[in-house]
């Protein structure tokens, strides 16, 4: 039985972007082209459903670069399964987003 939740196209796109290494809200907005009103509530929903988890950058690292620490998102194991299922459901998803250059 497939237990991964069914995601909307936007949520699947956001999850796919996160799984490709775009870990900040602004990066996700930029790479997916989705508006902020879609991206940020979707990130909250994904976090509530335990498909992603958020962490804060180390404060010292950010302070050294004279910028505020940012909240970043990581895909959980359940999220990876859901992203895989979403890619099967929306086959064009993989072609829409480029892998993040490190």
């Amino acid at each position: 039985m497939n237990s991964s939740p069914r995601l909307s196209h936007s949520a699947a796109l956001i999850l796919k972007a996160l799984s490709l290494g775009y870990c900040f809200g602004l990066d996700v907005m930029e790479v997916t082209g989705l508006p902020s009103g879609t991206v940020y509530p979707a990130l909250r929903r994904l976090e509530r459903d335990e498909l992603v988890e958020s962490r804060w950058e180390p404060e010292e690292e950010a302070a050294a670069k004279q910028r505020p620490a940012r909240r970043y998102y990581e895909v959980t194991r359940a999220g990876k399964t859901a992203a895989l299922a979403a890619t099967q459901r929306y086959p064009l998803l993989a072609r829409l987003l480029p892998e993040k250059r490190s």
Partner: protein, 280 residues
């Protein structure tokens, strides 16, 4: 300003954050503010292919704040008795307004409604009696403390839910038959009683099913249904479904079929320390 502190946000951003933060629940406000201060700061100091402005993010931060508020309400009121009664009351008000609008005011409605109310007063107790007689009842566990209070609250909730459901069934049946009343008054009256009985029987069936699937202490809807036992082992053990109260008050065992193991649904109280590790 400390040597490592980032430059402050522009005035527009600070005003926007101050205005929207009031929407965010108090418990999540500090983290929300920190998140959005950082996001806005990085928007202004971003080097990328597509430059984003604070205006691009303003809709996002409002949606984010509203989502947090809605989520806090969902957690606080989701599945509660208050939400159930409020929803039923709202549906009654909506149906009442619809009835008034269809009749074109209170004055033309009243003579029509007076006759229908007599039918309602006669039919409602009969329908309720039949529904109560055929509904299955939970075997209430006598173990928990303060059970009289819980029983009274459950009874009051059931009474309020039944009354609102009957009223809603009545208003729906009136709305459905009102267009026919001008041409065939006798047929319309007969159909109205028939529709009322059908709607009320279905609605009361839901009332009892809903009542059974609520926590006996806090009256919240039970969740997380889990299959227990195997149907092929029916002679050796019971099988069915278990649902738990999210607040940890207890769990409900619903047998798949009536057997000597379990003849009807059974409520099991959990001790207040159920989620603490057992001391050895």
């Amino acid at each position: 300003m400390s040597p490592h502190a980032p430059p402050p946000l522009p005035r527009f951003d600070r005003t926007l954050l101050r205005a929207v933060e009031k929407v965010v629940p108090a418990a999540a406000r500090a983290e929300w503010l920190r998140t959005w201060q950082a996001e806005l700061w990085h928007t202004h100091h971003r080097r990328g292919a597509r430059r984003l402005s604070a205006a691009d993010l303003s809709f996002g931060l409002m949606c984010d704040a509203l989502w947090l508020r809605a989520e806090s309400w969902r957690v606080a009121f989701g599945g509660t008795a208050v939400l159930c009664l409020a929803t039923l009351a709202a549906l009654c008000v909506f149906s009442g307004v619809l009835t008034l609008a269809m009749a074109g005011g209170w004055r033309p409605l009243w003579p029509h409604l007076a006759g229908q109310l007599q039918h309602f007063i006669f039919a409602a107790p009969l329908v309720t009696f039949v529904s109560f007689g055929t509904a299955s009842h939970l075997q209430a566990s006598p173990s928990f403390t303060g059970r009289a209070i819980y029983r009274i609250r459950r009874g009051l909730f059931l009474a309020a839910k039944t009354a609102l459901t009957l009223l809603l069934s009545f208003l729906l049946s009136v709305n459905l038959c009102m267009p026919l009343h001008a041409f065939l008054p006798a047929t319309s009256d007969l159909l109205q009683i028939l529709f009322f009985v059908i709607f009320a029987l279905m609605a009361l069936r839901w009332v009892f099913a809903d009542q059974e699937q609520r926590c006996q202490q806090c009256l919240r809807a039970l969740s997380s249904p889990a299959r227990v036992g195997r149907p092929t082992y029916n002679l050796l053990e019971w099988n069915g479904t278990e649902q738990v109260c999210k607040q940890g008050h207890g769990l409900l065992s619903v047998p798949e079929m009536e057997s000597s193991w379990r003849q009807s649904s059974q409520w099991v109280d959990l001790a207040p320390t159920w989620d603490q590790p057992a001391s050895v």
